[in-house]
Symmetry: C2
Subunit: 224 residues, 2 copies
DNA sequence: GCAAAAAAGTAATCATCGTTCACACCGTGT
DNA sequence: ACACGGTGTGAACGATGATTACTTTTTTGC
């Protein structure tokens, strides 16, 4: 009773507390382990109390997903802000940030993808303009912008989901491995699968185009 | 009692029937709508009967996932067999086949990804040899094979999951749209993001490198 | 100030689900 | 003929999501 600034009623701010407790439970034991009753138990309220704040379990999950989405987008945006402004560096930085989020909080990431319909898009409007400018400057290949955006998004989202879905051989993925894989992907995407003419600038802006990739992208070999 | 070849006992082949009924239910209403009791009801058996064939619900789901995985791999393999043997054509064909499966049976695809741990790999061992040969022939860029394989896998898996997770604006995706998107992605991946020198062979083998992509990859524009 | 209304929580209750257990049924091998 | 193992029955148990009627607290309109 000393000082409860916002604690106005019995609990103060159930609703917010429910979301945070749900986040903790999901992060610890996965979405399937989430139970409204157990949540109410943890917060010391009756089993029916949560229904004053959320229509049903799905509504709570939607709120959780919204919270996760906000953190996700903030982290990606910050990574974009801290990276050099050229298109490839932006792609690399945001890709790495996105994959890192997935590695750090796989369960949260999964909830976000399942519940928050099309919320994974890394700022389509701005990118369009930026990429168009990059193409005009000759920094970017003259491919349709929609196709470029889609390919980049698929590659990063694919890596993230491969990780959180446990589809990569070799157990859980470390942050360093995730970084290396994201880098390798951006390099491949930047360079292209079709061989280039000798003397082509290729993926110069990257650190070491071919070295960091195989050292960590070795996963995939021991699968069969 | 005329001729029931395998129908020996009360039901004949529960277990198989359970898997098929589960597949139908999942395809119609999603995994969350799957209930062991309802399944038993449909098959005219008691609620405890399924437990003679599966330890629990997860075991049934694992069997379902195995069934889906088999069909998925068969379809992808057939597409690979029917496509030209060069590396890029193989990538395109298997990619399109995989995405088509996801579009046709989103719920099945999701169960497969969630339950069947690392089963989405399109034949890593063979590909390694094929790609190495392609690289030696100069048909493929001299990038680390692991990175190439990873990037291709991420792009296709990413597109598939973007579709089944409903992360693409514009409602459900048609088969034609999915084909176009897969094609656009393979083109971008083949060409590379970094501009090429004038006169470079580029993505010649494809039909129309830049035309089919924007017509259908327009999705992403109306998002914001 | 204060009483009415709105917000927040409680306790009891329902339907359903996953799962288990003791028992009954059926074909088979001896 | 008979025991036995694989298969299905039927009735439970515990837990969950959700609803309802009721109480308590906070807010707020006058």
């Amino acid at each position: 009773m000393r000082r409860k600034p916002a604690a106005t009623y019995h609990h103060g701010d159930l609703g917010r507390a429910l979301v945070e407790a749900a986040l903790a439970t999901i992060d610890r034991a996965g979405v399937d382990a989430l139970t409204l009753r157990e949540l109410a138990r943890q917060l010391g309220v009756s089993p029916g109390a949560p229904y004053r704040h959320f229509a049903d379990k799905d509504a709570l999950l939607a709120a959780v997903a919204a919270d996760v989405t906000q953190r996700y987008q903030a982290e990606v945006a910050q990574a974009a802000a801290e990276a050099p402004p050229d298109a490839l560096a932006q792609f690399r930085a945001t890709g790495i940030a996105a994959v890192r989020f997935a590695v750090r909080s796989p369960a949260h990431f999964r909830v976000m993808c399942t519940q928050a319909t099309h919320a994974i898009d890394p700022a389509t409007a701005d990118n369009h303009a930026t990429l168009a400018a990059a193409q005009a400057d000759g920094q970017l290949a003259p491919l349709p912008l929609d196709a470029i955006l889609l390919a980049a998004r698929c590659a990063i989202y694919g890596l993230s989901r491969l990780i959180v879905d446990d589809q990569l051989p070799g157990g859980p993925v470390t942050l360093a491995q995730a970084d290396a894989m994201a880098l390798a992907i951006t390099d491949v995407l930047g360079h292209g699968l079709v061989p280039r003419l000798p003397g082509d600038p290729c993926t110069a802006p990257s650190a070491a185009p071919t070295d960091p990739a195989p050292g960590s992208a070795r996963r995939g070999r021991p699968s069969r």
